[in-house]
């Protein structure tokens, strides 16, 4: 693997890092399987692309994208809590609807950012580093800030209530917390991060495309699993760090595979789909395995 490919993997890992954090927040912390991700990633991309093309600064565009993502997450949350639609189904509904919404926002299926001033351009100028270095540094910095804020938040009173909602909704309800509000906020927050990630990815690849979100949830879960397996999740801080590093490792694995040629045999990107799918199966069954194993040990 060349140096460029490695830095490329780093930049991808951190560009999608916020998406992985969002997936971690819903899947692991809130215990809410959320497929909205496949729609909110391109939502963030389209909102930011349209905003930048309209003349807004890249930073403002990213904030607008995050806001849009938050709203999308709220919709899923409301469908689940108020309309009592199963969380998985609610998120799929929102995801499907977002396809049309994204087309409307962009007016067409693809909005190019080539030739526009993106946050990458701004930071490259500011730092003086060559683009292949400045991009991963920038995205890493953004992820670091997000991680710190998230860790801090989860230690606050509200954050603690959020953790409890995912862990034991009956308990936290009897302690006076409205789980509906928590879920709506939590899923909103998660998708705000995903949309932010989408905005970064679009600025990295030079275009926002209505189909760019397909398979995000799979990549997100795979990244979470890799992170947990390799780095562990004993404390909140560790878990969040693990998610980010998992995202990077996942993209590094792809980069390795792309460069791999052993005589006649080579792993093609389509093999990675199978590997990713296997990882997702582990992600979804690990909690039940844990529970089965665990409850045997703690009965009175």
């Amino acid at each position: 693997m060349t140096m460029y490919a490695f830095y490329g993997a780093l930049e991808q890992g951190f560009a999608y890092g916020l998406m992985v954090l969002g997936v971690y927040l819903t899947f692991r912390i809130l215990d809410f399987p959320d497929l909205t991700v496949d729609g909110s990633l391109p939502l963030g991309a389209s909102v930011s692309a349209v905003a930048i093309t309209a003349g807004y600064s890249p930073v403002v565009a990213i904030l607008m994208a995050s806001g849009a993502g938050f709203l999308a997450g709220m919709v899923t949350g409301i469908l689940n809590t108020k309309l009592r639609i199963l969380h998985l189904l609610a998120s799929i509904l929102t995801m499907i609807a977002l396809y049309s919404v994204n087309l409307r926002i962009m007016g067409k299926p693809n909005v190019t950012l080539l030739g526009q001033d993106t946050i990458v351009d701004w930071f490259t100028q500011f730092s003086g580093l060559p683009q292949y270095l400045s991009t991963p540094v920038l995205f890493c910095a953004i992820c670091a800030v997000a991680a710190v804020v998230l860790v801090w938040f989860l230690h606050t009173e509200i954050g603690l209530a959020l953790l409890a909602t995912g862990d034991n909704p009956q308990m936290i309800t009897s302690q006076g917390v409205n789980t509906h509000t928590v879920i709506i906020f939590g899923v909103g927050l998660s998708n705000a991060m995903v949309a932010c990630s989408g905005a970064l990815v679009a600025q990295n690849q030079g275009a926002a495309d209505v189909n760019m979100g397909v398979g995000s949830i799979v990549a997100g879960l795979a990244s979470v699993i890799i992170g947990e397996t390799v780095f562990g999740d004993k404390t909140i801080f560790r878990a969040i760090l693990a998610a980010l590093l998992g995202s990077v490792l996942y993209r590094v694995a792809i980069a390795l595979a792309l460069g791999l040629k052993l005589g006649a045999f080579s792993i093609t990107p389509s093999d990675l789909n199978l590997i990713t799918a296997l990882l997702v199966v582990i992600a979804l069954t690990a909690p039940t395995m844990k529970q089965k194993f665990f409850s045997k040990g703690s009965a009175a």
Partner: protein
């Protein structure tokens, strides 16, 4: 043993330069997905360079339709430090143009390079990117439709509303149709499984059904053929492969030839040192007319002699 190894190594190192009399160029290829048309483009390009006597080592990357892999490939290509980058399809070209600023890039199989941001204008690309567009000669398609069915009042078009190239084509279709006082009705799909439904929705509303060069629709063209056969509506396509599969006629770009033409552009870059900025975007010089006599019978349309005599290929 070690000594023997060193001697062999020395021989190889000294001999190799002697064996290489010409320069071997490194060409990195980024292709979004495996597809007959895109593969034909690549093959045509490679064959053309070979025939021009240009030696090249190819790094071919297929993104398997995945946007993230596509971006990764662009970073990979940076590391390969190629003499020329060949990008096959719009998204492949966009991501390479974003990442590779200091090497010549040639795109092919892109319908609208200007809207995609790849070039400033077709005549003056402006940066390190140029190439070939496969924009269908829509005006000629409308004329062909008129020729086959002079009484046509309304053209039904099936396309994927999520595909930017198709939107460009449909807008052109509307433009040239209105110039001929022909109306256009749309049947949009989101994926290949919707083609049958879309075709059915056009029955009774269109005299002719047209399928542009839209990968999603073309992959399921048989569904449209079925509907057209059942309802005696002629089906005109934007690509020649579809005629083999049941469309009545198509006047189209031959992707292999287009690939060859791209190879000629490539030769000018590598051997003559031309810069893409100075190379206007080219479109296919040769169009081919394919017709399908069997389909014309089952769809209830009589092909005029003028069309039959002009045809490059007739399928019975």
């Amino acid at each position: 043993m070690k000594k023997l190894g060193l001697i062999i190594l020395a021989i190889v190192l000294f001999a190799t330069p002697a064996l290489c009399s010409e320069k071997t160029y490194t060409i990195s290829v980024n292709q979004i997905v495996e597809h007959p048309a895109l593969d034909a483009l690549r093959q045509g390009f490679m064959d053309s360079l070979k025939e021009q006597g240009i030696k090249a080592e190819y790094n071919v990357h297929i993104a398997q339709g995945n946007a993230a892999t596509n971006t990764q490939i662009a970073s990979q290509i940076l590391g390969e430090q190629p003499d020329l980058v060949l990008a096959i399809s719009t998204s492949s070209a966009q991501v390479v143009a974003q990442k590779v600023k200091d090497r010549p890039i040639l795109f092919t199989g892109v319908t609208d390079p200007v809207t995609a941001g790849l070039v400033k204008s077709l005549e003056n690309p402006g940066a390190n990117v140029s190439g070939m567009t496969d924009m269908s000669p829509m005006k000629k398609h409308v004329e062909l439709i008129r020729e086959i069915l002079p009484s046509v009042k309304s053209i039904g078009v099936i396309y994927n509303s999520g595909e930017p190239n198709s939107i460009v084509l449909v807008n052109l279709l509307k433009k040239y149709s209105s110039e001929q006082d022909i109306g256009v009705v749309e049947g949009t799909i989101a994926n290949s499984s919707g083609v049958y439904q879309a075709a059915k929705s056009l029955v009774g509303r269109a005299d002719v059904i047209y399928v542009p060069t839209d990968n999603t629709v073309v992959s399921a063209i048989e569904s449209a053929v079925k509907v057209c056969n059942q309802n005696h509506i002629p089906l005109i396509a934007g690509d020649v492969d579809s005629v083999k599969r049941g469309a009545v006629a198509a006047l189209a770009v031959d992707y292999y030839l287009m690939g060859r033409q791209t190879g000629e552009m490539g030769g000018r870059v590598l051997r003559d040192g031309m810069k893409p900025a100075d190379m206007p975007v080219e479109s296919s010089k040769q169009l081919r007319l394919y017709i399908n006599k069997k389909s014309s019978k089952s769809m209830g349309v009589k092909l005029p002699d003028s069309v039959i005599s002009r045809a490059d290929k007739i399928i019975e």
